[in-house]
Amino acid sequence: MTKTWKIYGIRYATQNGRLASHTFLWGSAEEELAGLDYYSWVLVSDDRAIVVDTGGAERKIKGLGRQWIASPLDGLKELGVDPSNVEDVIVSHAHWDHVGELAAFPKARFYMNDLEMESITGEDMTFAVMREAYHAEEAQQLVGLAYEDRLTFLRGDGQFADGIDYTLIGGHSAGQIALTVQTDRGPVVLATDAIHLWEEVEKERAFLIFHDLRQMLKGYRKMNQMVAGDLTRLLPGHDPLIKDRYPIVKKHGDEPFILDLGGVI
């Protein structure tokens, strides 16, 4: 019998509005969107907690004018997960808002796709427009982890653990992966940034930041297929609608902070 997991999303920051021209390819500067929410995730079973992405550094989030809610590390602690003892951190991709707290997990082994590492240290980064969402010091930290023998390279698709599979989607970034997680209500695909907003899949609207446009668009279709069209089982990485649609486990002040993304809707 396959193991099941709880999926918690830790909503650590939010953005008060965003233009479609900053969000979608060919988006209009006249169209105002609700803005992105920022998440880190953790998969929890009886005996194990696996962190998925660490969130972005607070000073960077604030520096870009986003609204900081609370540290993703505090979110983990609220769930009874001590970052200093976490053993496994999956890095879905290496954009700055996903790898800002690598050092907060001193005992962890990190897992990242090999194409992502090649992209963030290689020729892709000699193009200024491709370099935008990656930061040198975080790429250097990931390299440092490899030399400490603390980085496992995932290749293509495979099984991460009982009840957790990874799939190379690519597109948004060279090594963007999605996770298929078995939960109490069946399999759920945690897309992270393979899909930022449900609208990308529903309307095939291309997100503005990408490594390979065609790969990203094909990824939308692939993930739709993976959940047999049931988008409640497909979790985007930044959609502000998430906080309205899933059970809230914990608030921080007025803001939904921790959500149960494997929960019953």
Partner: protein, 271 residues
């Protein structure tokens, strides 16, 4: 008409004892080959291309190597200021070749994409392959990428008028040799594609490698390049280079520092 270059090899460190058994598969434990450490420079008129940066002096003693002269002093001896150098070609990223990236604050760097992918990727999960690289030096290379100070090469190509680069994988994934036009004809600056003349002559398998078969194939390609004329080849660590070529500068004890390896050798070769 192709540009001709002066080619310098700078002997910046040495290991007086380096035995065949430590160098090659099947090597004899009592045969001492020694090992010299070089970085190189090409010059044509006022244009200078530095090739590799040598090992970091502070790291050498712990690794049993003796630094003889600093990179800056070696270059100053032939009238070149490291701080003004604008072009540095990296043949590969082993610790004894990229140990002094910051000695060249104004330089743009060139390296093979295959080397960068290898030194930051799954190859580094093998301790034995990782051992020849230094994390902080690789991290510095990554930093250079984000500073827009690196260009990645892919395979063979033309680097400059009279300077071609040739991918010779095996010792490392992105090991590169240079084919250089000089007044004496074409020179193959093999760097570590060939450590010693005899290594190429006898197809010996050097003990530090990423891919053994590729390394041996690259030895053959280097031999094909020189078409039987061993004076056309400059291996990366052979002490014979130090004593065969005219020296322009010396240490206080008289040992050569700057060798003009584009000029006719003054001593024969022992193969």
């Amino acid at each position: 008409m192709t540009k001709n270059w002066e080619v310098y090899a700078f002997r910046y460190a040495a290991m007086p004892e380096r035995y065949e058994a430590e160098l090659f598969i099947g090597g004899r434990p009592d045969a001492n080959w020694g090992m010299d450490y070089f970085f190189w420079m090409l010059r044509s008129g006022t244009e200078v291309i530095v090739v590799d940066t040598g090992a970091n002096a502070a790291k050498m003693p712990a690794k049993g190597r003796t630094p003889l002269i600093s990179i800056e002093d070696a270059l100053a001896g032939v009238g070149v200021k490291a701080e003004d150098v604008s072009q540095v070609f990296l043949t590969h990223a082993h610790w004894d070749h990229i140990g002094n990236l910051d000695s060249f604050p104004k330089a743009h760097f060139w390296i093979q994409q295959a080397e960068m992918a290898s030194i930051t990727g799954p190859d580094m999960t093998f301790a034995k392959i990782r051992g020849a690289y230094q994390a902080d030096e690789v991290q510095r290379l990554v930093g250079l990428v984000y500073e827009d100070r690196i260009t990645f090469l892919d395979g063979d190509g033309c680097f400059a008028d009279g300077v071609d680069y040739l991918l010779m994988p095996g010792h490392s994934a992105g090991q590169t040799a240079l084919r250089i036009s000089t007044t004496s004809g074409q020179l193959l600056l093999a760097s570590d594609a060939v450590h010693y003349y005899r290594e190429a002559a006898e197809e010996l398998c050097f003990l530090a490698f990423n891919d053994a078969k590729a390394m041996l194939s690259s030895l053959r390609r280097c031999k094909a390049e020189i078409a039987g004329d061993w004076d056309r080849m400059i291996p990366g660590h052979d002490p014979q280079v130090t004593w065969r070529y005219p020296a322009e500068t010396h240490l206080s004890n008289g040992d050569p520092v700057a060798l003009r390896v584009d000029l006719a050798p003054i001593k024969g070769l022992e193969l």
